[in-house]
């Protein structure tokens, strides 16, 4: 049986990407293999680890639980889109580095996209808000404490700078 294919157009981090993809290809595989955006990590491929989280039309979603064809005509932000145009880390990224919120970095793309959405939805999260927000993201290295501290600190830095997540 020949592989059914579809043409798709997806805006990723503000840039339009076009590809012809097998209809069964997951969005995570499309981002990595078709668009070359390997910042999005793939851990479990069945919706448990959260490493593949991207922002789909502004909201966090597991890209391993979507088909690439479903992204046609939609907008996606990945970890590659979080830094500024000048290449500066976002407040959240900088805070994560300062608080040792990553070791191997495998969970980091999912943590950052999830927390970016949290800080947009809720600019003054509590410790518990942050823990609940990342409850769907597994980290095998840090023990989470540095990640929670980073999110809380990032919220403060964003307020001090008067900018957005």
């Amino acid at each position: 049986m020949s592989e059914p294919m579809r043409e798709i157009e997806v805006t990723v981090n503000g840039k339009l990407h076009r590809a012809s993809v097998p209809v069964r290809m997951t969005l995570s595989d499309c981002l990595r293999h078709e668009f070359g955006l390997t910042g999005t990590h793939v851990g479990c491929e069945h919706g448990v680890c959260g490493a593949c989280t991207v922002l789909f039309d502004g909201h966090s979603a597991r890209s391993c639980l979507m088909l690439a064809v479903q992204a046609n005509g939609h907008e996606i932000e990945t970890i590659e889109g979080l830094e500024s145009a000048k290449g500066e880390l976002s407040h959240l990224q900088a805070a994560l580095r300062d608080h040792h919120g990553l070791q191997c970095g495998f969970c980091t793309p999912g943590m950052l996209t999830t927390l970016t959405e949290l800080l947009r939805d809720n600019p003054s999260p509590t410790d518990s808000d942050v823990r609940i927000a990342i409850s769907g993201n597994l980290c095998r290295c840090t023990g989470y404490e540095g990640i929670v501290a980073a999110a809380l600190d990032a919220a403060q830095r964003i307020k001090d700078a008067g900018s957005r997540a």
Binding site: M25, F56, A61, L67, T114
Partner: protein, 291 residues
């Protein structure tokens, strides 16, 4: 690639989706994808056709219609979680949703998808049973309605034909100031419940229970409406002794046993969840009647 090979269809209307269901063999409907996609990735299901409902306009949204909240089947759990209509008229739905998966899965997952997947431990089917929800199903001969009580035929098996799809869910409203609570025990936040309980009730002027609905999830092959508990509570004043006696009926449940918990533990836990939900629901009902 993880998913098996299939043909992909994205109909633009309910009629087209129903026509596809009627003409294609071995087709699966794709709603929010938070259950179907893992099953595809693990090749637990091998459909020849996947029919994506995400491009059909008009299947999502929340509206208030004479004494019921009418919810489109493709309404994302996120939209319900943040809906003012839900917060005002059906607060137990907002409370239950916080136990459904995680932010990332609620952003995609739909109410219709959860009801049709009908995982015995899922929160939304349990809640729909307690609220006496009505489900609108559309097939080749048009729409029909059924009570959610008649929806689960058995383990993960909804009472819908192979050429039908769920389009709307109506949740009848309880009076303003009613008491409610959704309780759940799971090993980790966001996991499926080992046992959950949904309780909705009202108290009369003397403080006795004059209307009550109790449903349990995660314990049996389908969510269970607990009429024996309701009957034992009706007309009585809430007290720990009453709740303990009324929930003794949980010991009779035909409970599932699995790697997470044996059947006897689930029976025990069901009673604990119902009692906790009753306590909180009564507190809310007495606060509501005073305000």
């Amino acid at each position: 690639m993880k998913p098996p090979s299939f043909a992909y269809h994205d109909p633009k209307s309910v009629e087209d989706a129903v026509a596809l269901l009627g003409s294609l063999e071995n087709a699966k409907l794709l709603a929010g994808g938070q259950s179907l996609m893992p099953m595809l990735n693990m090749r637990f299901v091998l459909p020849d056709h996947v029919i994506d409902l995400n491009n059909i306009p008009g299947l999502a949204g929340v509206e208030l219609h004479d004494q019921a909240l009418v919810i489109g089947a493709m309404t994302r759990q996120r939209e319900l979680e943040f809906s003012d209509l839900v917060a005002t008229h059906c607060p137990i739905l907002a409370e239950a949703l916080l136990q459904v998966g995680h932010r990332q899965t609620r952003n995609r997952g739909t109410i219709g998808g959860s009801l049709c997947h009908l995982d015995p431990a899922a929160e939304l089917p349990t809640l729909c049973l307690a609220l006496e929800a009505q489900v609108e199903v559309v097939g080749p001969s048009g729409p029909r309605g059924l009570m959610f009580a008649d929806f689960p035929l058995g383990y993960m098996t909804p009472a819908i034909g192979a050429d039908e799809l769920v389009t709307r869910i109506a949740l009848p409203l309880w009076p303003k100031g009613h008491g409610y609570a959704f309780e759940e025990f799971a090993r980790r936040h966001g996991d499926f419940a080992i046992a959950s309980a949904a309780v909705v009730l009202t108290l009369d002027a003397q403080g006795a229970i004059d209307r009550v609905a109790v449903a349990i999830g995660g314990v049996c092959a389908t969510p269970m409406r607990m009429e024996a508990i309701e009957a034992a509570l009706m007309g009585r004043e809430p007290s720990p002794e009453l709740f303990r006696a009324a929930t003794a009926a949980c010991k009779e449940l035909d409970a599932l046993g699995d790697v997470h918990a044996p059947a006897s533990y689930r029976q025990h836990l069901a009673g604990v969840m119902v009692r906790r939900a009753l306590v909180r629901a009564c507190e809310r009902a007495s606060a509501g009647s005073k305000s």
